[in-house]
Symmetry: C2
Subunit: 460 residues, 2 copies
């Protein structure tokens, strides 16, 4: 009899990947470059230097280096919480009665509670190395802000976090965690930036949006001596750092002689999904394997499934470079009744390109179905998932149920990005049945698309 | 050069202990037996049968079986979140500038957020096996209730949790987690029991106490057909189940050729400390080694350091058996300004006996010092500790600083029992300096001691 696969598969410290994988190096066609919004020319290192620290600018623009060596200091940081476990969902399989084998890579086993720490550690390290005076960022649900606060506290560099105001008010404990790690947390929109003041003047009671918080954080960084801005998703550099997730996963699966038929990840800006799938997409690009790859997004913010592939601003204030991506329009804000995270209007250019070129599928799921899956999962696997992660659970369960019907014993892999400790308000809403679903109408989306930047036809 | 010890040492699934260790089997003198409060005779299996399920009664009363085989179903449950990592606190050592080597066994890597799940899984499994209709329990800070809700949801058995009212109100999210796992959560004191009604009549605005919640949960269990009561600490059976912590720790340390000079654990009812130290106390009892063992308790609830070793009730309502233990009196309630957990008036009889016989030391620490250590630890080790666990961190840091002074490279081991995600109100109080310390006066304690049960002199 074959040896039973353990519940939790850990690599040893020596087996941990010592490089990040740059998916662009193997892509036959490159994602379209970021554009300087003033010149509409591809951004240069000089354009980005006031915003990002130098080494990260290099990583952002480098589409040819296949592997980047992870600096020793970052590896040391990773070793405090990595490798993360690859878990065999035996009890989930049993509860579903599916012949499918379900694996999930669990990134919630650190205080920040999510995979965000992988890129935070890297970005903060490079900022420290450059001798910067401080960093700014934005956070929505709070996972990125928390991760960054942890990394900044460790590498001893000041941090200002613009937190989307409705989250700031609904998640006071998230805020306290960041403050515990020494970060300054400002509700956005705020009076500390021109963008914030302009938005507040128009709508003093706004709950804010991620796009607006990004504008404020960028403005603050470029107007403060020695400061730079850091972003937790969307960018090439972030997907590069997050490739540690996929590299570990692939190695762990090799150790147990497995290879996924289907890989599923939740998709907001794309940091987790991009990281998880990176080495598997490589196999696909090089013709070595052809797993199905499924991005799962909320029906209330359906970037891939209903957005357009177009150049757009990355922020509400329209001060960032233009990115060619699937987008709902930089002015799109999902209904406040959407509790499940993944609220960003765009999608990482790398993932947008892969999706556009047919390497990846996408599905949109409604939030009550997502929370149903979350509670089911918690009861059988004893992990309380973040609502974001539960999007992937929903899709994984649906695929496992299809296997039950067809009798196929497929190997399903999904990314469990984090834990839901700070999302109990949303769980409560689900449990007491006050949670509703929201799906934007076609008219809503058309209104939003109408605000795309006006560009010459060749960039359309 | 010797191979560097990894940051995280995990046993493999096969290396996981398959037995629990019963420390009583090696004790030269036994802890005094529980007494039936009506007859003042040692409790019998018949006395306990209405309260606890049968197999747990056997474990409670068995002082001779050295090792209990862990049933396969419980092992399977453990494998969903165990083995837990033994972590080398390299960054903590560096930040302190100490020559000491600091290790900690981290039990917070599961949704319940603490070590409590180890005994919850066992107790619920036996209840299910006996075909019980349901279980009752109490919870203070919420860790035990959460763990039990998870286990009950997994093994499919109904659960009613009496949650100390002030926690119920201050920690709504803890409550929601238990409800997510399907538990019924009732603020205590409540109108659902005689004890609760009596207490509410005297003091309708009381915030409740752990002792009172225990009374209610026991009363509910013994008056409901097919129900039994489960307790998360103090009892012999709980220390037995928690020995998995110490057994894993000892094995992991052997793998890296280490043995602790000092073992430190926080002590409320004693479940974590008793489990962590069990196999090391065995070495001490058998003359094989002599590590220092230090129990850390809050200065506001100084059971070991200022309590008396006497027979006392385990609950406020005086309906439980009498236990000979270090106790502040069953009517003792720590000041509500005490945020750091570990509020129980008594201490596990096994630990009380070991302490009384000189196998263990105890220190009491003030809560602002505890939170200072917690924040320092979080910043350097990136884990946000539960306030309870932070008591052990405080003592470990103090010992490491002594080593710095003396130049000794001692090996310090402490138990990091859980995470602080649901304790941010207390962290906020510490950060904004509204947290104060509270130490009961000698008069406070004398008043409490005066309410000990009246017993014949030979039981005094």
């Amino acid at each position: 009899m074959a040896k039973k696969v353990p519940y939790r598969i850990y690599l040893s410290e020596e087996e941990m990947p010592k490089v990040w994988y740059n998916i662009r190096a193997d892509m036959k066609e490159q994602p379209a470059p970021l554009l300087n919004p003033a010149t509409l020319k591809p951004v240069t290192a000089e354009d980005l230097a006031p915003v990002f620290c130098d080494e990260l600018v290099q990583q952002e623009l480098d589409s040819t280096t296949q592997y980047f060596e992870i600096p020793g200091e970052i590896l040391e940081f990773y070793r405090m919480y990595r490798p993360s476990p690859l878990i065999r969902g035996y009890n989930l399989e049993k509860a579903l009665g599916t012949p499918a084998k379900i694996y999930y890579k669990f990134e919630g086993n650190n205080t920040s509670g999510s995979h965000k720490l992988n890129s935070a550690a890297a970005q903060v390290y490079y900022a420290k190395k450059q001798g910067l005076a401080g960093l700014t960022t934005e956070t929505g649900a709070g996972q990125w802000g928390t991760a960054l606060a942890e990394a900044c506290s460790f590498f001893k560099i000041p941090l200002t976090v613009y937190m989307v105001k409705c989250s700031y008010e609904q998640k006071p404990f998230r805020r306290s965690v960041m403050q515990t790690f020494g970060a300054e947390v400002i509700p956005s929109p705020s009076n500390t930036t021109k963008t914030g003041r302009a938005i507040l003047e128009k709508d003093p009671d706004t709950g804010g949006s991620l796009g607006c918080a990004i504008s404020e954080a960028v403005e603050k960084a470029v107007t403060t001596e020695g400061y730079r801005y850091v972003l937790g998703s969307v960018l090439n550099q972030v997907l590069l750092h997050q490739s540690i997730i996929g590299l570990e996963t692939k190695k762990a699966m090799e150790m147990i002689d497995e290879y996924p038929d289907i890989i599923i990840g939740c998709a907001g800006g794309g940091s987790n999904l991009g990281g998880l799938i990176a080495p598997f997409v490589q196999d696909k690009l090089l013709g070595k394997a052809s797993p199905r790859i499924v991005a799962v997004e909320p029906a209330s913010c359906p970037t891939l499934t209903r957005g357009r592939y177009a150049y757009d601003f990355c922020d509400t204030g329209k001060i960032t470079p233009l990115a060619k991506m699937y987008t709902l329009g930089s002015q799109f804000v999902p209904s406040p009744n959407h509790a499940g995270g993944l609220r960003y209007h765009g999608m990482a250019p790398i993932l947008s390109k892969l999706y556009h070129d047919g390497y990846m599928e996408a599905v949109a799921v409604e939030q009550t179905k997502v929370f149903e899956a979350a509670v089911f999962f918690a009861k059988h696997e004893t992990i309380l998932p973040a609502p974001e992660s539960a999007h992937a659970i929903r899709a994984a369960i649906d695929e496992a149920l299809k296997c039950k019907e067809s009798g196929e014993a497929k190997t399903i892999l999904f990314g469990l990005t984090g834990t839901g400790y700070f999302d109990m308000t949303a769980y409560e809403a689900y449990l007491n049945k006050s949670m509703t679903d929201y799906i934007p109408t076609d008219e809503d989306l058309e209104k939003s698309f109408a605000q795309f930047p006006e560009l010459p036809p060749e960039l359309g």
